[in-house]
């Protein structure tokens, strides 16, 4: 894709905290990373997981616990959360790839539900209260993530923002690399025609599992970052509604496109924040978006745009 697009996006990302509410922007980045990680699985491997909240939310608890109780620095907390999600992804993935299509979706959903119940009942998660008061701490023990810089009259948490932004870019770059590597080519081959990939001698299950683990790990990284931003890990992030939301973000933006999940996450998070005053009508609006998307433009915003421009975005 065009280099200038990337540069514009990076500049926008760097400037964003001065223009919009930084907490909102960080939430956006977390969900965008989550959606991109999810898209690696759905868009490039053709596997619809309905249980990705387990990685996103699960990792946020682990990071919260590591930082709050074990007193680790935030980058180690995020690393711990990510590793946990990768491990969990390995377990869930090994079970789920035994089935295909709808069965795969159902199995991931049900397994994610176990994670939800563990989060509800385990002694360290705080149950329905959530894990509260997670400190943001000092990055590498040096940079205070809580520090704010007053610009005008608004104190902006710039250290935290740029930490989240860099992590986001790192995650995004990894996904981008994975897609454009030989590994990514095999994934696409599996998506298009699995029996053929098998007959070409590829160990399809291993590739699927690897894609699943990478996707889970990066989803976990997104969840870990979110727990630092909001200083809270809660059941909302492990519930099946979150799993559904990430599907919506990806679908809305465009399954299998690079920029689609970004656009989708941006739209959904903005909708949620702009419409927070209308209460549960948000659920209705999100539902309607889902239905319209499935019925009318299954390629998503970016996918449709790409078709118009005859370009892969």
């Amino acid at each position: 894709m065009n280099k200038t697009v990337w540069i514009v996006l990076i500049i926008l990302g760097l400037l964003a905290p001065f223009i919009v509410y930084p907490i909102f922007m960080m939430k956006l980045l977390c969900f965008a990373l989550f959606a991109c990680a999810f898209n690696l699985l759905l868009g490039y491997t053709g596997l619809l997981s309905f249980g990705h909240a387990a990685f996103f939310g699960g990792a946020s608890y682990i990071t919260g616990h590591l930082v709050k109780v074990s007193g680790l620095t935030p980058e180690l907390g995020v690393l711990g959360g990510t590793l946990f999600a990768a491990l969990l992804g390995y377990v869930v993935g090994s079970l789920a790839i035994r089935r295909q299509g709808i069965y795969f979706a159902m199995v991931t959903l049900a397994l994610a539900q176990i994670v939800y119940f563990v989060a509800l009942k385990a002694p360290f998660t705080g149950g329905e209260d959530g894990l509260q008061g997670i400190p943001r701490g000092n990055l590498f023990g040096l940079i205070d993530l809580n520090q704010t810089f007053t610009v005008g009259t608004s104190p902006l948490p710039l250290n935290l923002y740029y930490f989240v932004f860099i992590m986001f870019c790192l995650g995004f770059w990894m996904i981008h690399r994975a897609i454009n590597s030989p590994f990514g080519q095999v994934l696409k081959a599996i998506r298009e025609n699995e029996p053929r990939a098998v007959s070409l001698g590829y160990n399809v299950d291993r590739f699927k599992l690897m894609a699943f683990v990478i996707s889970a790990a990066l989803s976990g990284m997104a969840g870990s970052l979110k727990s630092l931003v909001f200083q809270l890990a809660s059941l909302t992030d492990v519930s099946w509604h979150s799993s559904g939301e990430v599907v919506l973000m990806t679908l809305l933006g465009g399954v299998g496109t690079v920029l689609g999940p970004l656009a989708g996450a941006f739209t959904v998070v903005t909708l949620q924040s702009e419409l927070s005053s209308v209460g549960s009508w948000i659920t209705v609006i999100i539902g309607v978006t889902f239905v319209v998307c499935v019925l009318l433009f299954r390629r998503g915003f970016v996918g449709e745009l790409g078709r118009l421009l005859k370009k892969s975005l």
């Binding site: 159902m106 959903l109 397994l111 539900q113 176990i114 563990v118 549960s280 009508w281 659920t283 299954r298």
Partner: protein, 301 residues
């Protein structure tokens, strides 16, 4: 706490009570999945809708049609709610689902997920999420029966009995009648059945309508037991999905038997280690998947 026979039996009875709801709901899912190949995520929302048809028919309908003294009674609701929800189902199938058959089946799941959010969101907006009581329980079903080991409310016994009749009735129609044989044939090879002059699209529409009508029926049955709340379906649907996976997707008998059994297992777990009761079904699911990936009653494809 000592585990007495009495305690176990009481909890297992309550478990059976939950189990019949799992059974009816997963039965509806199985019927729909069998013919349409769609996992109906809106099933829980339509179950909730059935309960609300009963509730609103009793409390609001009279005022709405200008006859404040009119209340839709329980028995009428048992018929009306499934019809209303079944009709809604037919509209959903005709206007939306039918456009998706030529695409990946996953789109059906996503569409019904969206529908579930819409229905649930609308009701959350107008009603208390912790539920409104349904007060139209018939006089004759009030009170409790002494089962020897416990006092069991009459209404719950009725709910268990009538659910079993509906479940096995459906099984009989599908597995043992001519109509059912068309259905089963339509599942196997729709093109061939079409060639024999059977109107397959109509059959599909009616099947979806019947499947969701079952959910609404369960909703009315549940209304006097649990409060009628906008999230009652959302809490139920995931467990029912697990039931369907364990039973084997699309298997009619599988979903009935698994629903009943898992309800009782859940009840039993409450005696042994209560906190695990909500997880036990999912643990069983994992084990079943490891040992028999197609489910207990499913066929390997």
């Amino acid at each position: 706490m000592e585990i007495s026979f009495q305690t176990v039996m009481s909890q297992v009875m309550l478990g059976l009570n939950n189990g019949v709801f799992y059974a009816i709901l997963s039965l509806g899912l199985a019927v729909i999945f069998g013919l349409l190949n769609i996992v109906n995520f809106a099933h829980g929302a339509l179950y909730m809708l059935g309960a609300y048809v009963a509730l609103l028919g009793y409390t609001k309908l009279g005022v709405l049609i200008g006859m404040p003294d009119f209340h839709l009674n329980y028995w009428a609701a048992l018929i009306v709610a499934p019809l209303v929800v079944g009709a809604i189902g037919i509209v959903i199938e005709k206007t939306m689902l039918s456009r998706l058959y030529k695409f990946d089946h996953l789109y059906g799941l996503l569409l019904t997920f969206g529908l579930a959010l819409i229905i649930q969101g609308v009701f959350t907006n107008y009603f208390n999420v912790s539920g409104d009581p349904y007060e139209a329980k018939p006089e004759i079903l009030n009170g409790a029966v002494n089962l020897g080991f416990m006092m069991f409310p009459k209404y719950r016994l009725w709910a268990i009995a009538v659910s079993l009749v509906v479940c096995f009735g459906t099984w009989f129609v599908i597995e043992r009648t001519k109509l059912g044989s068309y259905l089963r044939a339509g599942t196997e090879n729709p093109e061939l059945v079409k060639a024999f002059g059977v109107n397959v699209p109509l059959m599909i529409t009616l099947t979806y309508g019947y499947g969701v009508a079952l959910a609404a029926f369960a909703g009315v049955l549940a209304a006097p037991i649990y409060s009628v709340s906008p999230v009652m379906g959302a809490e139920m649907i995931i467990v029912v999905f697990a039931v369907v996976v364990i039973g084997g997707m699309g298997s009619i008998m599988g979903s009935i038997v698994t629903g009943l059994l898992l309800g009782m297992v859940e009840g039993f777990t409450k005696v042994v280690y209560a906190p695990a009761s909500s997880t036990v079904i999912f643990l069983i699911m994992v084990i079943v998947l490891l040992v028999k990936p197609a489910g207990l009653f499913g066929r390997e494809s």
